[in-house]
Symmetry: C2
Subunit: 332 residues, 2 copies
Amino acid sequence: MRIFVDAMGGDFAPQAPVEGSIEALRRYENIEIVLAGDLKQVEPLLKDCDDVRGRITLVDAPEVITNHESPVMGVRSKKNSATVIGMLQLKEKLADGFVSAGSTGAVLAGGMFRLGRIHGVERPALAPLLPNGKGHFLLIDCGANVDCKPEYLQQFGVMGAAYMKGVMGIEEPRVGLINIGAESEKGNALVKETFPLMEKAPYNFIGNVEARDITADQADVLVCDGFTGNVVMKFMEGVAGTLMGIIKKEMMADLRGKIAGLIAKPAFRRVKKMMDYTEVGGAPLLGVQGNVVKAHGSSNAHAFACAIGQVIRMADGHVVEVIEQGVAATQE
Amino acid sequence: MRIFVDAMGGDFAPQAPVEGSIEALRRYENIEIVLAGDLKQVEPLLKDCDDVRGRITLVDAPEVITNHESPVMGVRSKKNSATVIGMLQLKEKLADGFVSAGSTGAVLAGGMFRLGRIHGVERPALAPLLPNGKGHFLLIDCGANVDCKPEYLQQFGVMGAAYMKGVMGIEEPRVGLINIGAESEKGNALVKETFPLMEKAPYNFIGNVEARDITADQADVLVCDGFTGNVVMKFMEGVAGTLMGIIKKEMMADLRGKIAGLIAKPAFRRVKKMMDYTEVGGAPLLGVQGNVVKAHGSSNAHAFACAIGQVIRMADGHVVEVIEQGVAATQE
């Protein structure tokens, strides 16, 4: 299996992607990695990996599509960027997976216009795994599609269920629709129209899930438009951070609390790790004709290795094929 | 000043509203309270309040609009409900404020169809105060309007700013728009069209606020459609609960943590109190021709007294008049 890694994407590139690739090669013996980037920067980082060096192919990709330019223009004009080269390699079946921590917009645009959608898929979607204290749920979409039609949301359910089955091994993933009430008649125009479509879709639709239950482990896949999903994903980070800050402040307010804080340090460290969504790798871009994972911009080497593991499991779980079959079933 | 209280609304009615009214009468010497409900149930609760009994008027309102019926049908047919009688008393200036912990839909429908909108207001909105660790921000709308037009959101800013100035005493409230990015060109169709309208509105518009910064004290008023707002409000409750549950579980996992948990109990109690949004009273319904507060369904007597205090401050702060002037200014 060949995984294509964008060595220039993310806050700690090229170190983090290169070191993460080396970690992944040591962890997964049956893979090869294509490292694409500015080779002047990438090559010097490969001096201490003789054990896996033979399984690394270098591709010169000196151009970078940054967060500050139009993603669509970027993938159109920067043909020597890792994003464009990688998406074309996926399309030509020269690679089995693609990982980047670069511009989200560029990964989306590259997926749409260079790789292409799965037959029948209306809109690819970004779907991070988020923690709920017991495990993880897949949130789809988290920002690729800020204005949605009911049919898109119905398909997000197909895509999310395919991922949770193929990658996470859940036999019949529970698919829920994020809404403002549990009753079927609740919601804005979009979700009201979506509900009956999801009821007849070929997956285990469990109905509406209110926002207070998003982290209550009611569903494995939570479907929403990309605006709502982006708010949910980022608000989760914000509330958790604010709450931890308040707890810290209140504990530091008196001697009692200070002592307790010192004693409880290992417990708090475990909590932090559990809430850390970079631990699970990145967000898969579902609905495109290949296995694409968008790693968090702040990914370190370990997070990169996790994202590479994730894209391997997507390939092993035949997520693309399962989505294609599922989408066809919704259109019968 | 006369405050009309729905004695039959909420999970702990009639005890909580009646006892909360008595508490408020003792706290605020210049008010009278109209208690409306099933008098067979209400009167027996008044035996230990001779000190304030003279400032209580009873109104027989045996009908109740429940959460399980159509709010619009309810306010149309149940003329002997506290909601309908109260809204009409507000309209006739027989009361200066209205507090209910009953059906949110009934309060909205009563406000719209029995009391009426402020001249120029497109859509009244529900606007809870939520904690951010430093103080509170007003979230508008949290569910009254699940499908919005840009003009509604522009007006929500007027309404929210009027409340934060009149009730919370903030001279120039910072008004933000909840969005998926900080840049002005970000967002779905609704917020993209709303941004320029808010830029020229007669309040201190500070631009987009990403969801991770909702609790970062960047704005005093956060504007969004009612679907997004409902998700934000309920998700905040859900994430906080889940996170506190994880912390508890991790602390109970070993002896160290258990000891720390015991020592830190007072600190955790302060955190819980700080995150408890029932402490601030209820959510004002802004944009109607009177001072209306929807108290939380689970309000106890103390929460009711707080909600009554809140509606008094709305009257004192002339929130209705300030909204009317502000809305007129957006239409010039």
